[in-house]
């Protein structure tokens, strides 16, 4: 019996330790800066909150908690930074996330560690951890006016959303300004709060939750709006305040 209880005790000890570290990895740290990463056969696309984009590279400031939000356009990938000892799968149709705090300046390897097809081995790049001020400088270069939401605005026009959702449009569609966080009443009597998941579904699956008082005429953007587009659209819809005319002005703060 001793021979089985002793290992058991050891095992439970190791388990508890492992589980605690694991949980902190997935807990969102308050006020962490956000970075959006989208995997696509076979590259990583990165977009910072202020709209600065990069491919196969990720610049981060040192000593600052970062929440990395991960999505994928196609198959499952896995975002892996061996030097940080972290990885997280990118799952189609969802967002996953990691919270990390880089502690040392330097350049580290970035890999895709979930098998994703032909060039799985070549999908990767580098993570560059910079001192804070350098990072701030870097971040400002090449960032569009208005941040990630500005990209979102472009996308909003490019995909023709404004054709219906602009208040001046003739189509009867809801005004999206200030939508984020609002309670929406649906056709079937339910009420939901408009969060990211709701907006995402509204774009991809407009029939799922039809807003009360409107015809279900909105087309699905499944297959048209990429994950990157979606991230930007959501960022955009989060900042347009009531009273802002859609398609004219964008907020200046980052999402």
């Amino acid at each position: 019996i001793a021979w089985s209880t002793i290992p058991l005790a050891i095992f439970v000890g190791i388990f508890v330790w492992g589980a605690r570290v694991y949980a902190t990895l997935y807990q969102p740290a308050d006020g962490a800066m956000k970075v959006f990463v989208v995997g696509k056969q076979w590259m990583w696309r990165v977009e910072h909150a202020n709209g600065r984009r990069e491919i196969d590279e990720l610049h981060l400031p040192v000593d600052e908690p970062v929440r990395i939000v991960i999505a994928t356009e196609d198959v499952i990938h896995s975002f892996y930074i061996p030097a940080f000892r972290v990885k997280q799968d990118a799952v189609p149709g969802r967002y996953t996330a990691l919270t990390v705090t880089p502690t040392r300046v330097g350049t580290y390897e970035l890999h895709c560690s979930e098998y994703c097809g032909t060039d799985h081995a070549r999908m990767g790049g580098h993570v560059i951890v910079m001192p804070k001020d350098e990072f701030a400088q870097w971040l400002d270069q090449g960032a569009p006016e208005g941040g990630m939401a500005a990209h979102g605005k472009e996308t909003f026009e490019r995909l023709g959303c404004s054709g219906c959702h602009d208040p001046r449009a003739t189509v009867h569609a809801p005004d999206l300004a200030g939508l984020y966080g609002r309670v929406v009443h649906l056709q079937d009597g339910r009420s939901v709060t408009a969060d990211e998941a709701y907006i995402r579904d509204a774009i991809l699956l407009p029939r799922k939750d039809v807003v009360a008082g409107y015809e279900p005429i909105m087309p699905s953007y499944q297959g048209q709006a990429t994950e990157g587009d979606l991230l930007e659209l959501i960022a955009y819809l989060k900042v347009v305040a009531p009273g802002d005319a859609m398609g004219q002005r964008t907020g200046t703060q980052s999402p």
Binding site: D188, R207, K208, V210, P216
Partner: protein, 211 residues
């Protein structure tokens, strides 16, 4: 070896062995269907309402009628097993025939249902023509419906074949107790297929009948 000379102890031993084999086989069948049921709960849980809407498109009267047919076939099967161990050849053959015919009737009704659903454009895939609310859930519903009832239908077809074959063999057998074990096992299989349907029936036909 002429088996009807076996003593009662050996007969009981063999019957138990064959039954155990069948039960273990049914265990694998339970797991096999289990995956489909998990998929079912997954889809239903994701959008209960769409699921209800979808279920309105199946023909609940035909389904209920079919359930009655299948339950009755289980009765005749159970009686057939009894006839086999009572060495009553005529009764056995007759009951097997009834069972097989009931099974065939079930398949006929099922085919009619499939045909109606096909005409309504409810077969998932390129021919799926439904376009109301919850289109995706409705398509998923019919995907599950066709897969699960289809797998069931395949099982039933195998069962009908086995029943027919056993009826033919039994007709030529002098002592049907010789085939007692086989028929006992066949009965278990048949009842299992019946039980699977007993769950499929409320899961697809009775989801949202009230208004």
């Amino acid at each position: 070896m002429s088996e009807h000379t076996l003593g009662p102890a050996e007969r009981a031993w063999r019957s138990e062995t064959v039954s155990l084999g069948m039960w273990v086989f049914l265990l694998t069948e339970v797991m096999f269907f289990g995956v489909l049921f998990l998929a079912y709960f997954h889809v239903r849980h994701a959008d209960p309402e769409g699921f209800g809407i979808a279920s309105r498109h199946v023909h609940e009267w035909l389904g209920t009628f079919n359930t009655a047919i299948l339950l009755t076939s289980s009765l005749s099967m159970a009686l057939a097993v009894q006839a086999a161990s009572g060495d009553d050849r005529k009764r056995l053959v007759r009951l097997l025939a009834v069972t097989g015919l009931l099974g065939a009737a079930f398949m006929g009704v099922k085919a009619t249902e499939y045909f109606l659903e096909w005409k309504d454009g409810l077969v998932p895939g390129p021919g799926f023509r439904y376009s109301g609310a919850h289109r995706r859930t409705v398509e998923e519903f019919f995907f599950l419906y066709f897969v699960m009832t289809g797998v069931h239908a395949i099982h039933l077809t195998v069962g009908i074949g086995a029943v027919a074959w056993n009826a033919l063999v039994a007709r030529r057998e002098r002592h049907v107790t010789r085939r007692e074990d086989a028929i006992e096992a066949l009965g278990l299989y048949w009842h299992f297929v019946d039980v699977a349907w007993v769950f499929l029936y409320p899961f697809f036909y009775l989801v949202l009948l009230y208004k």
